[in-house]
Amino acid sequence: MDIRAHVSMVFHLDKCIGCHTCSIACKNIWTDRKGTEYMWWNNVETKPGTGYPTQWEDQEKYKGGWEKKNEELKLKLHSKLGGLGNIFYNPYLPTIDDYYEPWTYDYENLFNAPEGDDQPTARAISMITGKPMDSIEAGPNWDDDLGGSPLYARNDVNLDELTDDEREQLNELERVVFFYLPRICNHCLNPGCVAACPAGAIYKRGEDGIVLLSQEKCRAWRMCISGCPYKKTYFNWASGKSEKCILCYPRLESGQPPACFHSCVGRIRYLGVLLYDADQIEKCASVPDHELVAAQRNMIQDPFDPEVIAAAKKNGISDAMITSAQNSPVYKFVKKWQIALPLHPDFRTLPMLYYVPPMLPVLAKTKDGNYDVDGLEKEGLPAMLSSLEKARMPIKYMASMFSAGNVQEVEDVYRKLIAVRIFKRAQKVKDYQQADVDAALSQGKTTAEEVEAIFRLTALPTYEERFVVPPLGREVAVEAWEVPLDHKREAGFGVRNKIAKRKF
């Protein structure tokens, strides 16, 4: 057992309102520089949809992540030798057009245009070339709220599993359904970006698992961009360096949650430490598709188990870190209650960001203008939530996203979430019989106490309950050997300057 600590995350999709505040918070802090205009380290996309960059989930196109070949785990992108051979031209690199060409507007023309018969206009100006753009063909969230769905939503690769009939139904007005998927770097346990980088510039921090990309070691070989199946490393075309989400480590190190977490309007985000067994990584990434979720859950260890605690201490994990893991909301969602699932475990990078799948689009299907409650009796569920089997958004779609196609895993989550709803409704509105509640609890394989706890952490959590930031304290610890004011002086004067001043 090789116990390590990992700062991990849960996004509760039922709570996401698609406001993009998170994306803006991130952009304002990290990606408002030249060459990063098109980057959204945090982005929120509409599902079904093709996302950002377009069709990022299609690994036949982008070759991200890992695949099992003859029982061996291989990077989908390249062998090591093949990678060195493709270094002059990476055949699977997304280009700027797969994202969008960033632009601004020529506002000055509104003031400076000579008098004429027509109103002056502010033309779109490319932020790459500085030249006017004739037409804007894509932008961030181009397909937000199903905009242009015949082109976008219909090409969502997760729909591949559905029958033609099911796909057609999704386009009927009465059945149209969507939800939001906020995405950041998953800070994976078996990251494809790290493995694909020939320069060894990307690394995982041992103490907290944050995946960082060294700007000094990056040589623009750009393999990480293909290697990450989530397309969460980005190429800064101006600096010639790749960049990625840093989980706001400077904020974490001073006790604050990342900016996207902090600013989240829907309060959908949770952050906390997970203890995991690093010895299991390779085995876990190699199990058959339908076992992936279970294997990953298995790798996460119980922070209350004395054996785990002893092993953690042996590995130099501090008491404070262990306490932090015990208080972690992520541990509860992922391991204790098992209602948060990784996004696309089939990419086999073992992402450490988990999602509570959304209920709303799944349930509440209508028929002839009324809620369709047929068949509920058969399932033994009271008539408020329609049947899971007849879900508006087919469960297979959810399974394709969150459990590598294992429908059982997703159903288990939904049964438990339904139990929470019915239990709370019985308590507050009192329009359910106790028998209904008991049936729902048993279907959800849960108990009254657990359901109450899920409800509290979902609906009424405090700031401190949502974000249990571990005591990384590097920012403070540095004061032990460096004068903080010296340290401060070096910040903010540009990278080159700082390096020239560095003592070595």
């Binding site: 990077l75 090591k80 030798l81 990678g83 060195l84 270094i87 002059f88 031209y89 990476n90 690199l93 280009t95 700027i96 790459i128 070339t129 500085g130 030249k131 078996n190 990251p191 790290v194 493995a195 020939p198 320069a199 060894g200 990307i202 690394y203 995982k204 921090r205 041992g206 103490e207 700007q215 000094e216 070691k217 990056c218 040589r219 623009a220 070989w221 750009r222 961009i225 190429f235 075309w237 101006a238 600096s239 010639g240 360096k241 590995n315 130099g316 590097r474 990278v495 080159r496 390096i499 020239a500 070595f504």
Partner: protein
């Protein structure tokens, strides 16, 4: 005197500056070391330019280097006429390939607005110098045949004399103008190397072959 400056002074100066600046750059400004790839902005023309250019050029450069390092073996190899023919034709083909690739890259930088946005003055200078070099190489290979053989008795001893710090330029002074131009332009490239994106050839990531896939860095030493 002038020849001394060209074939002793210039090579030594170029290489010395080159090494000094390279060291400086790696230690004091590692951030600036990048291949500055522009594939992200323009993909198609790059394919037809970059692939033939790199593969053609690297093979030829390795040929030059092998002949320099293992001149005796190389001499034995070229002693046979058939082998010499094959070598010369391969060399010409590769030079052509590299030249065509570079022309496409040149065109790409000129015609494509996005590529232009990431092209610096130094990039243009580098492109011109590189183009001169492969063009001259091709020219020399074509008009002054059997270079793979006479190279051994002219440039190689001259370079070896430079390396041994006992410079002897008599090996090269009598050569035709274009050949000498090719030599000197070569040192110009060596000089430019640390100032331009060309540094990327010094950091070709061979160590990827033996590195573990995953990289974990610990802040504190682990026991």
């Amino acid at each position: 005197m002038f020849d001394n400056a060209l074939f002793i002074g210039f090579p030594y100066a170029a290489v010395t500056i080159s090494i000094a600046v390279t060291i400086y750059r790696f230690f004091f400004d590692p951030y600036s070391v990048s291949s500055q790839s522009s594939q992200f902005l323009e993909n198609r023309k790059l394919f037809f330019g970059s692939v033939p250019w790199h593969y053609g050029l690297i093979t030829i450069l390795l040929g030059h280097l092998t002949a320099l390092l293992f001149s005796r073996l190389w001499g034995l190899f070229t002693a046979n006429q058939t082998r010499l023919y094959v070598l010369e034709i391969t060399g010409l083909a590769l030079a052509l390939m590299a030249t065509v690739g570079l022309v496409i890259l040149f065109y790409r930088r000129m015609a494509d607005a996005r590529s232009q946005a990431v092209t610096s003055e130094l990039d243009w200078i580098l492109l011109v110098v590189l183009f001169l070099q492969v063009g001259l190489g091709f020219w020399v290979a074509y008009y002054y045949r059997w270079g793979s053989d006479w190279y051994l008795h002219t440039a190689v001893p001259w370079l070896v004399s430079l390396l041994k710090f006992q410079p002897d330029i008599t090996y090269v002074t009598a050569l035709p103008f274009w050949v000498k131009f090719h030599f000197l332009n070569g040192f110009t490239i060596a000089f430019l190397l640390p100032f331009t994106r060309l540094v990327h050839l010094l950091v070709y990531p061979l160590s990827y072959l033996w590195r573990e896939h995953q990289v974990v860095i610990w802040n504190k030493a682990r026991h």
